[in-house]
Symmetry: C2
């Protein structure tokens, strides 16, 4: 590799001057400037970011740990974070915790060791053992989507209470008596909050679900299928299923399909987290949509603010019910409004060209 010294020699100056030219610092004559630039060009010199970071105590890098990269919900968030970060001259390195607390802790340490300037974490579980390490290291931390025990870090999250209340009301109005819930893990804040909010909403309507109709999955596909299987094997099976995550919703759908059960005739289904393909199913799936892009953007901005020494407030976005009929409900709420909600802004135009050969 060619280093700054090589450039200095080639240009007949000292490394200090090269550095100054590189960083647009004061002083260098237009003449030496061009000489240095020429040398850099001829040698194809690229500064060593490691050395620079070591010296500068800054890597211009954000660390992002998602609970599961395969979950499109997190993939979208990751993309939004990256967009925002890049716009501010930061680069993002990802870690995939795969819904595992240990793997998450490992990644936290790895990223801390690499001296990221800030850490964005979608916590896998409530366990906040790793938070202490981050605090000690002094690296700014922002929590995304889920909270964690014993942390005072800023949080960017989604409030689904109102949407779940609307869903509960809609289900009751539709005449559902037995409501099955495929909840998230009890050791995640989102897992608990969604279930609690939904249960509370039902209770207000005098319909608390039976205990055996509430199962906890792990936010992944297979657990959704297993829960659906269990629920539909009950003597008094639910008339509608509410899956608290898109992956568990997918699993539940697969299971229902496998059992030859027709939605919503045999059993209704609603899912938390919208996905582009939900409207394509027959019937289209009723969902609670979350503003993923806004979440990622807000989280990145909060972290950047923290790095800049500010004290960003928690951000609380709100989810929205998109009623599409998969619970047998009557009126479809305007579907038109749902598309822009979760659509990332694309700057480059989409091209379609005819084959000309």
């Amino acid at each position: 590799m060619t280093t700054m010294k090589d450039v200095a020699n080639r240009a007949g100056v000292s490394t200090a001057t090269v550095s100054r030219v590189l960083n647009g610092h004061a002083a260098p004559t237009e003449q030496t400037r061009t000489r240095v630039l020429a040398a850099i060009d001829e040698l194809g010199y690229r500064p060593n970011a490691l050395a620079r970071s070591l010296r500068m105590h800054s890597t211009k890098t954000l660390g992002l740990i998602v609970s599961d990269l395969l979950n499109p919900f997190f993939a979208e968030i990751a993309r939004a974070v990256e967009d925002e970060a890049r716009a501010h001259g930061y680069c993002v390195v990802f870690g995939n915790a795969d819904e595992s607390a240990e793997q998450q802790a490992t990644y936290v340490r790895t990223l801390l060791d690499r001296r990221v300037d800030g850490l964005l974490v979608c916590p896998a579980t409530d366990d906040g053992g790793w938070v202490a390490e981050v605090t000690e290291s002094g690296v700014p931390l922002v929590l995304l989507d889920r909270t964690v025990d014993g942390s005072t870090a800023p949080v960017v999250r989604v409030d689904g209470t109102e949407a779940l209340r609307e869903l509960a009301a809609s289900l009751v109005a539709t005449g559902h008596e037995r409501i099955g819930v495929i909840a998230g893990p009890a050791n995640t804040s989102t897992g608990r909050e969604r279930l609690d909010a939904f249960s509370a909403a039902l209770a207000e309507l005098g319909r608390r679900p039976r205990p055996e109709h509430v199962l906890h999955g792990d936010f992944r596909r297979a657990s959704g299928a297993a829960a659906a299987a269990a629920l539909m094997s009950l003597p008094e099976r639910p008339s509608v299923l509410v899956a608290m995550d898109n992956l568990m919703g997918l699993g539940a759908l697969e299971e229902l399909r496998g059992r030859g059960l027709v939605v919503p005739r045999d059993v209704g289904l609603a899912v938390y987290d919208d996905q582009p393909w939900f409207p394509l199913l027959d019937p289209p799936i009723t969902v609670i949509a979350q503003p993923t892009v806004a979440m990622g953007g807000a989280a990145a901005r909060s972290l950047l603010a923290l790095i800049a020494g500010e004290q960003p407030a928690d951000v609380r976005l709100t989810a929205r019910l998109v009623s599409r009929g998969s619970c047998g409900e009557a009126g479809l709420v305007s579907e038109r409004a749902s598309s822009p909600f979760n659509t990332a802004v694309r700057t480059r135009p989409t091209s379609v060209s005819e084959e000309d050969s």
Copy 2:
């Protein structure tokens, strides 16, 4: 931050000794070893990976640049790469080119500057201007999914020729006369190869598609919709559409649905790239499935081999037709076999627990 010097002071030894203990090097007495370890523990010392990398000329980090993180195809690949890398003690930093050549070039430079030990790239376009930079830097490079002009780097790709031939035969056998193709960009190897292979297969059967029935999209959702719209507006519209990518397939589906066209009654549809939700549609979508997990794993292994000084051969995996009836074809090929094909191996068990409160 606490540094090695702090630990050395605390333990009453030199930094050299601390370093030796840390790296399990020869020499330290069991006594000093425990003293050092204790100091490390008490101080909560964590080595600075930047400094270490600067000194060691190795970051134990792989760079992965995907063309579009939002495409589940690449998300799965990314996950597989990361799994394999971690198993070998490497960490992966991602870059999202977003199907843009410039952004990709930017990321290549960024990762090179950070001195990754190896680079894995899913090229956005044929343009290989960036390859020279990588070559000069001496950083090992492996190409994934797509090839690039003027590169001699090892490539891990998928051969869809046979699957496309089977698809062509199936469509012809089903009686399709007018076959519409939503091809990928002409400036990507996969875009061209899939179209070429499919066209050739049709030609063998005496059915070359009309030029106006072949449109090029950009591997993203909106372009699939636009292409489908254009094709279905033609006076002699196709009786079946073949989308050469899952995102364009999604867009096409949305467009067809929006126009009130029923698959396969009004128009058939086949898609390149399987996704978990394709079997859930009515009818289930006929696809050409790619072994994404195997691709990611193979690519990571090739890169690791390259880093180790070996000379890995190109890897060519094969895609498979999964016929589900969305083209109006009669016999459904065994669906059973399709699931395991693209399923990532999960080591931790899936848990489903009953609500006990």
